[in-house]
Symmetry: C2
Subunit: 580 residues, 2 copies
């Protein structure tokens, strides 16, 4: 499919937008009128620049408030249209988007609308231009795509077709199945945008919360499928605007946008194979001693040292932590190892989704590890399921000890606010994870937004957090370890856990009646508690090391959450403690 | 009136919140439960700390999902309540806020709700505690304050009353007049919050968009008036949360909060006297030469030099610009002179509203100028209307020349994003200006939010802008000069104006039919054009000097706006030009 994007979807001047869009590999653009109006480039210069960059100008948009009006407004509208046709000829644009009228002056009269659009199409035809009529979700009388199509059909002019926009269709909760009843050649254009489900005024929702397919809650792929089955063969064109995209770097947004289109097309053909588990988490540390003490207290053993690098391997059951003593600054979570049946295929899939493949610095005899970089800089290594051959890189590796900690339950990564949607789409599309609902919790100095995602059978769980905290962002990342006996783990950790206020346990006792003995134990060991309809959750946090802390969790029954009811207590205690 | 605030309304740990709230002069606090739960301070320590700071603990909140439930849930609720009563006794809190049940398990049965609340009030009475029952706007069955009051009346227990919250009442569009039918002694508590009018889910609206009275669109003063007429004599207590307040500095928020309460009380008694005009705008400049050239081209003359400071006075008609050559960095708009009938009264009024009064550095014989600092650092000088006695401070002042520029039309100030509401409340309450609707316009690298405010007869107009642009904020401030003949002004300014793209004039010609001659003139002189139902607006911009540029405007007829239709064109051109 031809891939296009509206210039309004990336930031900058029109020239900067075209450069970024071409660099990300798009085939064409929609020229958003205000981008041209505020540009010092003439339409001819824009046309030539786009051509030099290999971009077609697939659409000029939007033309507003034209149809279903009185004679004076019609005359003014036709005059305005002739000016725009002239601009389009100078640009070399052949299709004009006409949005359904939102003016209070518009009349509720489909026949009038059809007759006037037919007139517009006749005028357009004289310039070799086509009119694509679109129902805005907040159109005065026409706010449904099938209504727009009925008017187009009634007008019956070869230069008049309809434009479909996934946001306008899905935001109204309309069934997109009706698209298949529209002849493909009468769908002149298909605009794609996703959005989170929000209960708010649809115009504000559209202006501030559109996002790229796969970043929101809409079934954009479903709309594409219907359009293709209807016979549509035009571009898949992204039209996205939100407060973050408006101020993000154009080049980065354009790559994110292209990734969303690739993932969208892929969903129908070759869905990602989700990882089957965590192979390891790698921490960059200035020196391994302090974390070594903590890991020892957690029941881990140092099972090997890397043959050629200052990297230690620590293990307990299938939980593996690498301490890489090459960090110049504080401790951070640098890499995640993921088990997958086909590491080579996984990295090719990631590369297809525009993930930068990391150069392999491999000493002779070392394992051939495939790795890519996530947008937040985290390195993702793909390792073969149930075949930790990479352990052979470590000299004298010995057997991992058994203990109550059995594996990694999840990892939580902090994202810059402006890259949350981008990161969510990346992990979702590259790793084939399924996102859960967005949640929010309070930090003493701001608000944290969080979204968990998990693969089939919860074999791999990840949590993405963004924080707007006191001007900066809470920098914490964490690794959660699954314990089969958190009481035993907690006893061994005494003095190394995050102190939990007595007020928390007073409140817990008010909220839950767990019996005096259990409450006493939770209080004594500083354990947090939660439950849902599936089961119970006990957890604790360690002190923080640079940007990183560990969580120990015990899931009892089928508890599905992450203990976010206690997150505000954790954050307050963490702010109280040492902070890099 | 006693002034209180909920701890959730400022950021930080509970200890930090109490300090900031006391420093701003509040009499009491509502303890928000999560603030206590996450605090390492015991309830006794919180009680003692508040007492040491002179703060009463007026309310403990919230207690949720209690009433109108089955027997098991009732037993659990009473058990939970006993735990909370114990905490309240340790805190020394005497009133508990109970919110209407939002749980799906709640039954729609007022008699059951009343009976169970009566039971709760009996238990509370044994501890000397009162229950204040409040209708949440999103309560399952009780979402209206009069409904909550009917249940309270039915329960008929001296320790049970109602709590009113302006947000919950006004967000539902309910008539607050019914408050007066409630006996004052049964209104146990009054919570105040404002909010911008938004069409969105009321729970999200409440969580993310509450603001202090005077910052939003609600008639909070009306609610207070009804409560006072009903006989309410308890605290006026602010309960505000939004994404910005959560991360702002606690001390600053607490002052902003206190200002909102003072202004609220004042609105009923002694409203502000709005300025009658601009006396001057003062620019801090590194050196006056370049701006002197511009002002000369604009038709200004240097009419005097300050006797003791490196300040030049430039005048044309009643438009006066001071160039103060003490800036270490680039040019900025440092001060605004406002004419008012009673400068001394104006500064006392500003001080009452917590504006810092600036020390007067007055040489012998110099005019006694009263000045305060706005939250954004702008200095506001109050000068006597029609009595520019301060001109005498300038040596050899000569007569101001006449010309087509007659006065300052408006000044526009850039605000940091996190201080927009604070600044709006400050200028509104201190200067008695009336805010207009919020507008937004696109910048190539972000979005600008703007709010104009004006005094009676538009004698003083100000525009506050915030920009979220490429991680930073667009720093521009500007002074708009009113011209009676902008064509003449533009001809003299050639080469010093901001270049406007030809595409803008092509689009203007498509949108408006002003005749070929007028369009040619607008295009030739780089003038922008707008109109509304009252009249027409012609304007132009100068080049930018440091953070500052000038706008020249000509209002024809009764045009009321600020030409924001062209703002995106201006911003794109400004980004193209030299930028500090």
């Amino acid at each position: 499919m031809r891939r296009s994007i509206a210039t309004v979807s990336v930031s900058g001047t029109l020239a900067e937008k075209l450069d970024a869009i071409a660099a990300a590999g798009f085939d064409g653009v929609e020229i958003f009128e205000n981008d041209l109006v505020s540009s010092p480039l003439s339409p001819e210069e824009v046309r030539d620049r786009a051509a030099d960059l290999g971009l077609g100008i697939d659409l000029y948009q939007p033309f507003r408030d034209f149809e279903a009006v009185g004679p004076d407004a019609l005359a003014a509208g036709l005059r305005r249209a002739e000016h725009k046709f002239a601009v389009m000829e100078r640009l070399g644009a052949r299709t004009l988007l006409v949005c359904s009228n939102v003016s209070r002056d518009a009349v509720d009269d489909d026949e009038l609308a059809a007759a006037q659009l037919r007139l517009l199409a006749e005028r357009a035809a004289a310039h070799g231009i086509r009119i694509a009529y679109e129902a805005l979700a907040w159109g005065r009388h026409v706010d449904d795509y099938l209504h727009a199509w009925r008017i187009v059909r009634m007008a019956d002019h070869p230069n008049l077709g309809t434009c479909l926009d996934s946001f306008h269709i899905l935001s109204r909760g309309t069934d997109p199945g009706g698209i298949e009843a529209i002849p493909g050649e009468k769908i002149f254009f298909l605009q794609l945008a996703d959005a989170p489900r929000l209960a708010m005024d649809v115009l504000q929702w559209s202006r501030h919360h559109r996002c790229f397919p796969g970043q929101g809650d809409f079934d954009v792929a479903g709309v594409v499928g219907h359009a293709l089955r209807a016979g549509y063969r035009g571009p898949l064109s992204l039209e996205v605007f939100n407060d973050i995209v408006r101020q993000a770097a154009a080049a980065r947004t354009a790559v994110d946008a292209m990734r969303s289109l690739i993932a969208l097309e892929e969903r129908a053909t070759a869905p990602a194979t989700a990882p089957t588990g965590f192979a390891f988490a790698e921490l960059a540390v200035p020196a391994p001693e302090r974390l070594g003490e903590l890991l020892t207290a957690l029941g881990f053993a140092r099972t090997g040292g890397h043959a050629t690098k200052p990297v230690e391997l620590w293990e307990q059951g299938r939980a593996r932590i690498l301490l890489n003593a090459t960090a110049r600054e504080g401790t951070s979570l640098a890499a995640i190892g993921l088990e997958t049946p086909d590491p080579g295929g996984a990295v090719r899939h990631a590369e297809h989704l525009l993930a930068p493949v990391l150069p392999r610095h491999r000493a002779p005899g070392e394992a051939d590890l495939h790795a890519v970089a996530a947008p937040d800089g985290t390195e993702l290594f793909f390792c073969r399921t149930d075949d930790p051959a990479w352990r052979a890189d470590f000299s004298r590796p010995r057997e991992a000890p058994g203990g109550e900690i059995t594996c990694l339950d999840h990892v939580a990564l902090a994202q810059p606010r402006h890259q949350f949607d981008e990161a969510a789409l990346f992990y979702r599309s590259v790793l084939g994870l399924r996102p859960a609902a967005r949640v929010e919790f309070a930090d003493p100095y701001g608000l944290v937004r969080s979204r968990a995602m998990a693969g089939p059978g919860d074999a791999v769980r990840m949590v993405l957090n963004i924080a707007s905290v006191g001007g900066g962002g809470a920098p914490w990342q964490h690794v959660a370890l699954a314990s089969t006996d958190i009481v035993a783990t907690a006893r061994r950790l005494r003095g190394l856990t995050l102190p939990i206020p007595a007020n928390y346990h007073d409140d817990l006792e008010a909220r839950f009646d767990l019996g005096p003995e259990r409450h006493r134990l939770l209080r004594e060991l500083g354990l947090l508690y939660d439950r849902d309809e599936h089961g119970e959750f006990l957890h604790l946090y360690t002190a923080t090391y640079g940007r990183v802390f560990f969580e120990v969790v015990q899931r009892i029954g089928g508890y599905r959450g992450y203990g976010t009811a206690g997150s505000h207590v954790r954050l307050a205690a963490q702010h109280d403690g040492p902070y890099p």
